[in-house]
C-alpha cells in the first residue's frame, strides 16, 4: 500500500495542513519508509481478538451529572483577547462581511 503524491495531498487537505509541492517527494518517501515497518502487523493472526474485551472495566464510568463549570483561576479578561457580555470575541476573517469592523 505505497503512499502516493496524491495521497499526501489528500491527507494534508483532511488535516488542514498546507504542504508545499517541493516537499511532497520528501514526505512521500518518509511516510512510505515508516509505513513499510507497519506491514509486519498484517502477518499477525488477530481473528480471535474481540477489541471490546480489552477495554478496562471502568473505562466508561457513570457518575452524577452534577459537575459545574470549570473554575477559572484567572479572570477571563486576563487571557482572552477581548470579552463582551461574558463571551470571548475572536478575530474576524478578512473574507467575512464587515471585515473592516475587526474585533478586537
Amino acid at each position: 500500500m505505497a503512499v502516493t503524491h496524491d495521497d499526501v495531498r489528500h491527507v494534508a487537505e483532511l488535516a488542514r495542513l498546507a504542504v508545499d509541492e517541493d516537499r511532497l517527494d520528501h514526505l512521500v518517501a518518509e511516510l512510505n519508509g515508516i509505513l513499510g515497518h507497519m506491514d509486519a502487523l498484517g502477518q499477525v493472526d488477530t481473528k480471535e481478538i474481540e477489541l471490546a474485551a480489552f477495554a478496562p472495566s471502568d473505562s466508561t464510568p457513570v457518575r452524577a451529572d452534577s459537575s459545574g463549570p470549570l473554575k477559572m483561576l484567572a479572570p477571563l479578561a486576563s487571557f482572552a483577547p477581548s470579552v463582551k457580555d461574558g463571551f470571548i470575541l475572536v478575530h474576524r476573517l478578512a473574507s467575512h462581511e464587515d471585515s473592516s469592523d475587526r474585533a478586537p
Binding site: M1, V3, D7, V8, H10, V11, A12, L14, A15, R16, L17, A18, V19, L27, E30, L31, G33, I34, L35, H37, M38, A40, L41, G42, V44, T46, I49, L51, A53, F54, P56, D58, S59, T60, P61, R63, S67, L70, K71, M72, L73, A74, L76, S78, F79, V90, H91, L93, A94, S95
Partner: protein, 494 residues
C-alpha cells in the same frame, strides 16, 4: 546552606527542614534559581528551562512561609521547588508544548496534578523544554532548540520530557513533572541518570495535560531517588471529576513500606520477578546487559525469585504505537487552528486558509509528519488495515502482560533503553528514532505502571533499569525499586 547544599537534599529532607522552619522556602527557591544559573539551565547551555519567573516563585514562597508561621506546618512538599514540563497547564507561566503554535499561551486554569502538589507546599519554579507536543525521543524537536544532557552536553537528554530529566539531574529541582505517551518520562530518566515513573493509566488525572494520544497519555514524576518519586506519586494520584478516565481505585501509601525494607536483609522475599527475553536482544549494548545482570543478581540477593518470562508480541510494539499515537494526535491537535490559541496567520483570506497556513507555520516537522501519518491511517480505505489492526495487536500485547502477571509474577525487570544517550543530531531517520522507545512503549499500550531507575554507567553515561508491574501495582513496583536502589548504593549513580 548554599545552593549546592540545597541541590544535594532530597525533596523529603528539604520539606522536613522547611516545615520545621530550619530553612525557609525563600532560601530553597533562591537556591534553585542560583543552581539553574550556575549549571547553565538557559538556552545558551543546557537549554532545559523554557519559562520561569523568579518573582512569582518568591511570592509563592512568601505565601507558604506565612502559612507555616500560622499553622505550624507546610505540607509534605513544603517549599520544595519543582519544574513542570511545558505541556502541563500552570497559572502564571506559559504552557506552549515547546511549539510555535502556542507561543505566548498562558492557561487560565491549572492541571489537577499541579493543584495537588501546590496544596502540599510545592513551588513551581519553571516550565521545562520538551519535544514539541511531546512527539520525540530526544528533546531535539523543540521549537526552542534541543536540551542538552548534563552528563555530556554533546548528547541528547532523551525525550520528550528531556528538560525535566535534565533539571533533576543537574540539581535545579529535586522533583520535576513529565508526561508519558510511549516512554517520555522513563527514557530521558534513563539517559540523565534519574528516577522516572509512568503510572498505571488512570492513576493520575490528565486534566490540564495537553492531549497528545489520549488512550496512552499519563503525567509522571522525575526525581533523584525512589522515595521522592513515590511521594510525588502519592500526592498526585487519585480520582478527579475533571478526568473521566481517572480511576477511583484507592491510592496506596507507597512509602509506608520503605522503612521495613531498609531494615530487612531479604525485603523481596516471596516476590517473583520476571525477566522477559524479548528485552535482551542480541544487539543490546553489552555494557547495559552487564549492568542489568548485576541488578538481577541484586534482586536475587534481596530474596526475590527471578524467572525467565516471555512477552512474545513485544517486537510489534513500535509499529502498533506509531499507528495509534499519531492517529489520536491527528484528532487531538485539530484544535490548534489559529482561532483559539497562540499563533494566527494574518495572510489568510478564507477560513480554510487560516487553518492550513496557521497550522503549517506553527507545527514543526515531526508534528506535521505525525499528523499526516495519523490522518492517513484513519482515512477511508486504510482504517482497517492500519488503525483497527494496530488496536487488535495492542490487545495481544496487553494479553501478554496479563498472562505473565496472572501467572504469579509480581514485577518485571528490563533495561529501559537499548543504548545510552546518543549524540545530538546523531539520529536523522524518523523510524530509527522511534526504535529508541522499544523497551518502554509496551507499558503504555497495556496501561500498566513502569519506572526507570539508575543502575550504573557505561562510558560515563547513565543507564536505566526498568521495573514494570500489573495494573495499579505501584506499591509492588516501588518496593522492588526502593530495595534495588538501596542494594546498588550510590555506585549506581556514578
Amino acid at each position: 546552606m548554599n545552593a549546592s547544599d540545597f541541590a544535594s537534599l532530597s525533596a523529603v529532607a528539604l520539606a522536613a527542614r522547611i516545615g520545621a522552619a530550619d530553612v525557609t522556602a525563600t532560601d530553597a527557591v533562591d537556591a534553585s534559581f542560583e543552581r539553574a544559573r550556575s549549571v547553565g539551565a538557559g538556552e545558551d547551555s543546557l537549554n532545559l528551562m523554557l519559562w520561569s519567573d523568579r518573582d512569582l516563585a518568591l511570592r509563592d514562597a512568601a505565601g507558604l512561609e506565612a502559612g507555616i508561621a500560622k499553622a505550624g506546618k507546610g505540607g509534605r512538599l513544603a517549599g520544595v521547588p519543582i519544574a513542570v514540563k511545558d505541556n502541563i497547564a500552570t497559572l502564571g507561566l506559559p504552557t506552549t508544548c515547546a511549539s510555535k503554535i502556542l507561543a505566548g499561551y498562558v492557561s487560565p486554569y491549572e492541571a489537577t496534578a499541579i493543584v495537588r502538589l501546590r496544596e502540599q507546599g510545592a513551588i513551581v519554579v519553571g516550565k521545562t523544554n520538551m519535544d514539541e507536543f511531546a512527539m520525540g525521543s530526544s528533546t531535539e524537536n523543540s521549537a526552542y532548540g534541543p536540551a542538552r544532557n548534563p552528563h555530556d552536553v554533546r548528547r541528547v537528554t532523551g525525550g520528550s520530557s528531556g528538560g525535566s530529566a535534565a533539571a533533576v539531574a543537574s540539581g535545579v529541582v529535586p522533583i520535576a513533572l513529565g508526561s508519558e505517551t510511549g516512554g517520555s518520562v522513563r527514557q530521558p530518566a534513563a539517559f540523565c541518570g534519574v528516577v522516572g515513573v509512568k503510572p498505571t493509566y488512570g492513576r493520575i488525572s490528565r486534566h490540564g495535560l495537553v492531549a497528545f494520544a489520549s488512550s496512552l497519555d499519563q503525567i509522571g514524576p522525575l526525581a533523584r531517588n525512589v522515595d521522592d518519586a513515590a511521594l510525588a506519586m502519592e500526592i498526585m494520584s487519585g480520582e478527579d471529576p475533571f478526568d473521566s478516565t481517572s480511576s477511583s481505585q484507592p491510592v496506596g501509601a507507597y512509602r509506608d513500606q520503605f522503612m521495613s525494607i531498609a531494615t530487612n536483609p531479604a525485603p523481596l522475599s516471596g516476590m517473583k520477578i520476571g525477566v522477559p527475553e524479548e528485552f535482551f536482544p542480541e544487539n543490546l549494548d553489552p555494557g547495559i546487559r552487564t549492568l542489568c545482570e548485576r541488578s538481577v543478581d541484586a534482586l536475587k540477593s534481596l530474596g526475590a525469585k527471578v524467572i525467565d518470562v516471555k512477552l512474545p508480541h513485544t517486537p510489534l510494539a513500535i509499529p502498533v504505537y506509531y499507528i495509534i499515537a499519531p492517529a489520536e494526535a491527528s484528532s487531538n491537535l485539530a484544535r490548534f487552528d489559529g482561532v483559539r490559541y497562540g499563533l494566527r496567520s494574518e495572510e489568510a483570506k478564507s477560513l480554510r486558509d487560516l487553518y492550513a497556513i496557521t497550522r503549517s507555520k506553527g507545527f514543526g516537522p515531526e508534528v506535521t509528519r505525525r499528523i499526516l501519518l495519523g490522518t492517513y491511517v484513519l482515512s477511508a480505505g486504510y482504517y482497517d488495515a492500519y488503525y483497527r489492526k494496530a488496536q487488535m495487536v495492542r490487545a495481544l500485547i496487553t494479553r501478554d502482560f496479563g498472562a505473565v502477571f496472572g501467572d504469579g509474577v509480581d514485577a518485571l525487570f528490563t533495561p529501559t533503553t537499548p543504548t545510552t544517550a546518543f549524540p545530538i543530531g546523531g539520529i536523522t531517520d524518523p523510524y530509527e528514532m522511534y526504535l529508541s522507545d522499544i523497551f518502554t512503549v509496551t507499558a503504555n499500550l497495556a496501561g500498566v505502571p513502569a519506572m526507570s531507575m539508575p543502575i550504573g554507567r557505561v562510558a560515563g553515561l547513565p543507564v536505566g533499569g526498568q521495573i514494570i508491574a500489573p495494573h495499579f501495582g505501584e506499591a509492588a513496583m516501588f518496593r522492588v525499586a526502593y530495595a534495588l536502589e538501596a542494594s546498588l548504593g550510590p555506585e549506581a549513580h556514578q
